[in-house]
Symmetry: C2
Subunit: 476 residues, 2 copies
């Protein structure tokens, strides 16, 4: 159905040109088809979509189990609803797609394709929230959003149709909204562990926060090229939206108060991050919780024992499946080496090889995708060992990715001769010095840490003593 | 969070005014919120969305297990791609939403919101299908589609943003495409059993088939008001699309041939059908496979035994859950009668009541939503009995719905004094007589059966002998 892998395909080396390596690997591994005739709108092929769906499933599990209700709001937003929150429309004005005609007639009120759903949801929230008893209102949806990106597009990372997760909550007061933000941090931690993705939580500067937010915390990871990739964000809106959209409730004392709101958003960039963080020169490396196929079983057939090996491999696969492992038996009539290459490229975490020699010894050969390490394990109790191996892979992948990311962040006390990596530097917190940092470095302030890092230093611009470091990098 | 149910709410009787009853029940049961400020675009509230997602899950299971790959194609289709198949564009010309601007600039090529995805997918299929080995190509996606309905809109049944399932397949020849159509019939049969929905497969007339199709088979159910509701359709395209979109493959003999294609589509109308077919004057009646909550456990608290009953009810609920049943314990501090009313309205298939008297006897009281039948069953082995009861409910719901639907179809030999129901009448097959049937009855020809019904009669217009009956009804 799709372009078959060319054996020993000449894939760009990740360390040589990360950007090209990324572009090649997402296509060669058939995660996406970029030939759709609209710029920045790609086709989700089966393999890529399965990864996205695994991520969506994790998100649903987390948000369902923390008392959020899944909803689905319409795609099209009337211009007048959109325009109610002034900061918000200013932030999106140049980025939205407009529906102006239906059938052969022009529309009275223009409709825009949601770039995010605040302005679709909040007029309805104002109907749902009536009294204190309706709060907190915790909802989420997984939908596609649309932004007219003018920068260069890149599969999963910068596209114009974006597969998107967004939670929206309403609370009685600022403090309860803050508790939601904390819960979001906890949820994120659990999710990122499944995806083996390290990240930093950085509070955006006031001039970089989400349009309409009181404050924005970005979720960023650092890529091999030293650039940051924003995986998502968590916003505290206070009553900035509830006032124009009239989301009010009657409190116990009979007073009408505006709700305080938060949102949490993530997108298909998570797929891009998994590819970028874990992939290597042999192809994808998928975290076990995401992998469509967690274990591939490859029978190593020998003359005279073809049937016996096939049968044993089939039995082995069944045993793994019964233990709840997503296992696949590769029975194709090609040499085992070609199969190894193929599944390594597709990122399958664990390969089990079964040949006559293994069988004679009551063993199975196991190869880890992340480390390439090969070892023999006992055939008896293989499902338990395989599960343990998947668990170890997951832990090791996260630990290594974390160490690698930490190694890409360097603390500096001057802006001269900056390394390619992300840097941490002292900042007095003034907008003036902030802009100067960005001007001098030609990089962005990604943000300040949400937790005290015990930093003590001087502002790299004005020299004032400060306990706040700022993280500076080029954003992907 | 949502409008609470008014106890003893004054819901319209289903038999009195089906149409009004339907409109009220979808709102009162909180399946949808129709207050979104764009006509025909409604908000999926949590309860409605859960039902839709259960249906989507069934669809995914069926299509995944029959070798279809899930994909996700872009929403926006360039005008020139759309226009390639002339019949198709003619059929949708007046019905599509047009994106003409992005940001502040007009687009060079106008983009339309998919009304269905043939014209988005087939240019890419022409890249995916190269040789005989790429066939059959079996894909599906679950996305929202958009149609500018000018008729009166109705929740789930006629909306402008439609939650939609569509499978698209390519085959080497007509015969293999026909085999796909047969497989689709089998898939549908298994799915409809889960949804307890009876239906008829009726081949549409040539003047009513899908634009671009060689033939269209509609999936129709008959509603209490005698009108038909189309639940979906299965199309044989032959090479009508593969020619303009150049979906060609190299055959074993080196010849290039056009693929033959089929599609199968269903939509959120399934939710509407479940409501319309099974609901009654007490509210929704959900098939057990669809129900978010399959069993609600209501503790009947008595003075002095509150804690013991609560604890026993909690244990009972856990036991049901461990057996894989979606069970919910209603611990709200309201009287049991209010809870019964509430869960009946929400359509929960089975209610388990547990009070002191039940406990003393080692029994549990069980009430079926579909029949209202109440009985006592042994507390021991309750999970098995409950599972059996859910199975029986499912079978009975389908059987009764089937009998009811069959009772709404009447065979006639004249078009005078037609009953309100759907009618079956002889038809010679000529377009002329067909149009006359529609003119005289002021109803639509829904289609002719796909299987021989052993019919023998005369054409109701020209009197020619015929073995083909035609089904005539008003479509919802």
């Amino acid at each position: 159905m799709y372009t078959p892998l060319t054996l020993e395909a000449d894939i760009m080396k990740k360390a040589e040109d990360f950007s090209e390596w990324y572009n090649e690997i997402v296509e060669e591994a058939n995660l996406t088809d970029k030939r759709y005739p609209v710029k920045g709108m790609n086709v989700w092929t089966p393999y890529g979509w399965k990864i996205m769906r695994a991520i969506d499933t994790h998100i649903r599990e987390e948000f369902d189990s923390t008392g959020h209700d899944e909803v689905c709001f319409p795609l099209l937003i009337p211009e007048d609803q959109f325009a109610k929150e002034k900061e918000h429309i200013k932030g999106f004005d140049a980025e939205v797609f407009w529906v102006t005609h239906a059938g052969l007639t022009p529309l009275d009120v223009k409709l825009l394709l949601r770039p995010t759903s605040e302005t679709a949801m909040y007029p309805i929230f104002s109907l749902w929230v009536r009294s204190h008893a309706d709060l907190p209102l915790k909802t989420y949806q997984i939908v596609n959003t649309f932004r007219y990106e003018t920068k260069q597009t890149r599969a999963f990372i910068r596209v114009r149709e974006i597969h998107f997760f967004e939670s929206h909550t309403c609370h009685a007061d600022f403090e309860d909204a803050e508790r939601q933000v904390s819960e979001d941090y906890d949820i994120l931690k659990r999710l990122a562990r499944k995806w083996c993705l390290p990240y930093k939580l950085l509070k955006r500067t006031d001039w970089d926060k989400f349009p309409g937010a009181a404050y924005t915390v970005g979720i960023d990871t650092v890529l091999p090229n030293g650039r940051t990739l924003q995986l998502g964000s968590i916003h505290q809106y206070r009553d900035n939206f509830s006032k124009p959209y009239e989301i009010k409730y009657e409190d116990d004392d009979g007073q009408h108060r505006y709700a305080h709101q938060t949102t949490f958003g993530m997108s298909e960039r998570l797929v891009g991050a998994v590819v970028a963080v874990h992939g290597d020169d042999k192809g994808l490396v998928l975290p076990p919780d995401i992998a469509t196929i967690q274990i591939v079983v490859v029978p190593v057939l020998a003359k005279g024992a073809t049937e016996a090996v096939s049968e044993a491999a089939s039995k082995l696969t069944d045993e793994l499946r019964q233990a709840g492992i997503r296992a696949h038996l590769d029975e194709r009539d090609i040499r085992p080496g070609a199969k190894y290459y193929d599944w390594e490229f597709k990122g399958v975490p664990l390969r089990l090889e079964l040949g006559v020699r293994d069988m004679d010894k009551g063993m199975v050969t196991v190869v880890r995708r992340d480390t390439g390490k090969k070892q023999q394990i006992s055939r008896k109790g293989v499902a338990d060992s395989a599960k343990a191996a998947l668990g170890a892979i997951s832990e090791d992948m996260l630990a290594i990715a974390q160490t690698t990311m930490d190694g890409r962040i360097e603390t500096v006390d001057t802006l001269d001769h900056l390394p390619d990596s992300m840097v941490r530097a002292g900042w007095c917190g003034s907008e003036e010095c902030g802009h100067k940092i960005e001007d001098i470095t030609q990089r962005d302030i990604i943000g300040t840490p949400i937790e005290d890092e015990g930093f003590k230093g001087l502002c790299v611009v004005c020299g004032k003593p400060t306990t706040t470091p700022v993280y500076v990098a080029k954003a992907m």
